[in-house]
Point group: C2
Chain length 346, copies 2
């Protein structure tokens, strides 16, 4: 299998290197051949080429079996009025790869429950899979800006909604058969279309219980009854907000992975944390989210379920018995966590 | 002073009646004359007149010194495809009254900290005032719907942003001199305009420290560092989501008030909870949010600060020593809580 890595900015290179090391250990242990090819994206790509997603990076991703990304952005490129911004590279990549379904699993490791802002009794049974629509909505709609006004258009077609909702139903079938669709149908037209599509498709998945929640209520319910949810599907911007909120429950943003999938097997994998400029270059970033993203890559793009579970078990063991990085209450550095996971994989 | 009440749907009438009783007790105790005039809004207005905001209701509100609202909506009127919906009445009222600044204070009563999903140590020093823009953004932008697509436009003018941001700065000056502006400037054009306006105005308020946060990060920070925030200003939809999330911290949605203000003294006051159809008509709804909204009415529309504080102290005392409604772990009904507050006011 051929894997393109896009380390990006800030701690991106550090955590991506750790995830690559894990994939190499898996290849060795299970006798697979993985080839890696590194490319630029984000701020470092702007510095080197003037563009946040150089043509060479995109072309390589489009030929790869999977893409492993670190993080993009940082204070150096964060002027919101700049015409070229690191995030544009990431958004362009998501669109070009057609990875419309962003899977963000949330589980709370028992050994880390004390780090969560939520009371421990609330965290029991928390096991949610968010499915965020990733290539539509206000992120990609028409924008205008005049001297004294600005607009963003949120647009969805039925087809865009249907494909991500079907993916969510299919995932619910492999889990606990419960799907929560989140919208703001009491105010937004796109949300009414969203709800209509879910209601139209639902009868085809009779074994899945469907529930609709308004996004404001859901922001509350994620805190008051997080154990109640199985698969949660929603549009791009709501998904951005709700998954970061949910991530806080896990104890550290550094722990959580994501997979972005389209029609084929090719996927884009990235930890949900950002470039963390405050700790970049120090070798102390938590590589867990990146390593678990590598596990998702094994599962979804390479069809290697056993290998994926091996990585997840190794990570879980290290979270329980250390070493740990600072964000999860330890003193270990990135390399120490990486080495412990490599040891557990072998 | 002349106050229009719009009890609305579900538990709206029950909690509004309790809030009116509190205002009457204040009038008696402090020797003021308040007159009350009740009108229809929401689902009950649709049933009676076909319209969610009948002209008579709006005209009365436009002549009143203040408007006290209960809640709108319920399963009877919740078909998202219906052409007339209860929420339209509320949105039309907010727009017609020009109440662009929605103030949502969040404090966690020490006696209720055990009801919060957040760990107690996180709740120390939580005292946030959200200022949500209420008459712009995707709520009021152009919408389209065709057979297979839909759009919502989020639009902001500089003037719309400037007036609500100035209000937030002014409020920060009366509090702890810290303002957090929340946007999604790395993706949305309206957010870039928002940030530009905040940056342009900030030098006029040198005594206020300004911080910018992306909405996804903010959804997380509200859980991990809630004690860090003073005044938080944001656009309509982000404010809808973040304030419901924050409300969960208080232990029950039934506790929290809101005030919606425009240029003059006239304001719209409503608890942030909804119509709670599951418990409507049983006399068990928590009237605290409505009573604290009445306190905000005394403060912001009538300029009666001492009276407002008297109500707040009475409510706080009752929360500490009971009786309490079910949502906050008690067995009392709405009337018991109301009577205890009335007693404490006198
Ligand atoms: C970097 C940013 C554009 C991105 C998003 O908003 O999608 C990030 O927050 C994420 O969630 O992956
Ligand atoms: C009822 C609904 C339209 C309303 C809103 O979204 O503004 C409510 O959620 C609120 O926050 O007051």
């Amino acid at each position: 299998a051929h894997i393109v890595t896009l380390p990006g900015d800030g701690v991106g290179p550090e955590v991506t290197a750790a995830a690559v090391a894990v994939l190499e250990a898996v290849a060795e242990h299970y006798d697979h051949r993985f080839t890696f090819e590194e490319h630029l994206i984000g701020g470092c790509a702007i510095d080197a080429t003037g563009e946040p997603l150089p043509a060479a990076s995109l072309a390589a991703c489009q030929k790869a079996d999977a893409v492993l990304l670190g993080a993009v952005g940082g204070p150096k490129w964060s002027d919101p009025n700049a015409t070229v911004r690191p995030e544009q590279g990431l958004l362009a990549l998501r669109a070009a790869l057609g990875v419309y379904a962003n899977l963000r699993p949330l589980q709370v490791h028992p050994a880390l429950a004390n780090l969560s802002p939520l009371k421990n009794e609330k965290l029991k049974d928390v096991d949610v899979l968010f499915v965020r629509e990733l290539t539509g909505g206000a992120y990609f709609g028409a924008k205008t800006r005049t001297a004294d006004a600005a607009t963003d258009e949120c647009k969805y077609t039925e087809a865009e909604i249907e494909r991500v909702v079907r993916r969510a139903f299919a995932l619910a079938r492999e889990r606990r058969h419960h799907l929560t669709s989140v919208d703001k149908a009491n105010v937004l037209e796109t949300s009414r279309l969203w709800r209509n599509v879910v209601q139209r498709i639902a009868p085809e998945y009779r074994d899945v219980t469907v529930e609709h929640q308004l996004v404001d209520s859901m922001a509350m319910l994620l805190l008051t009854q997080p154990g109640r949810y199985d698969v949660v599907v929603t549009e791009n911007l709501f998904g951005d907000i709700l998954t970061d909120e949910a991530a806080a429950l896990a104890g550290s943003l550094g722990l959580l992975p994501s997979a972005s999938l389209g029609e084929g097997k090719r996927g884009l994998y990235e930890p949900i944390h950002g470039s963390a400029p405050d700790i970049a270059g120090q070798g102390v970033a938590n590589p867990t989210g990146a390593m678990l993203s590598a596990a998702m890559l094994l599962r979804h793009s390479l069809g290697l379920e056993e290998e994926a579970q091996c990585v997840e078990a190794a990570v879980s063991q290290v979270l329980a018995h250390g070493p740990r990085t600072r964000d999860v209450g330890g003193h270990g550095n990135t390399a120490a966590v990486r080495d412990a996971v490599l040891m557990a994989v072998e």
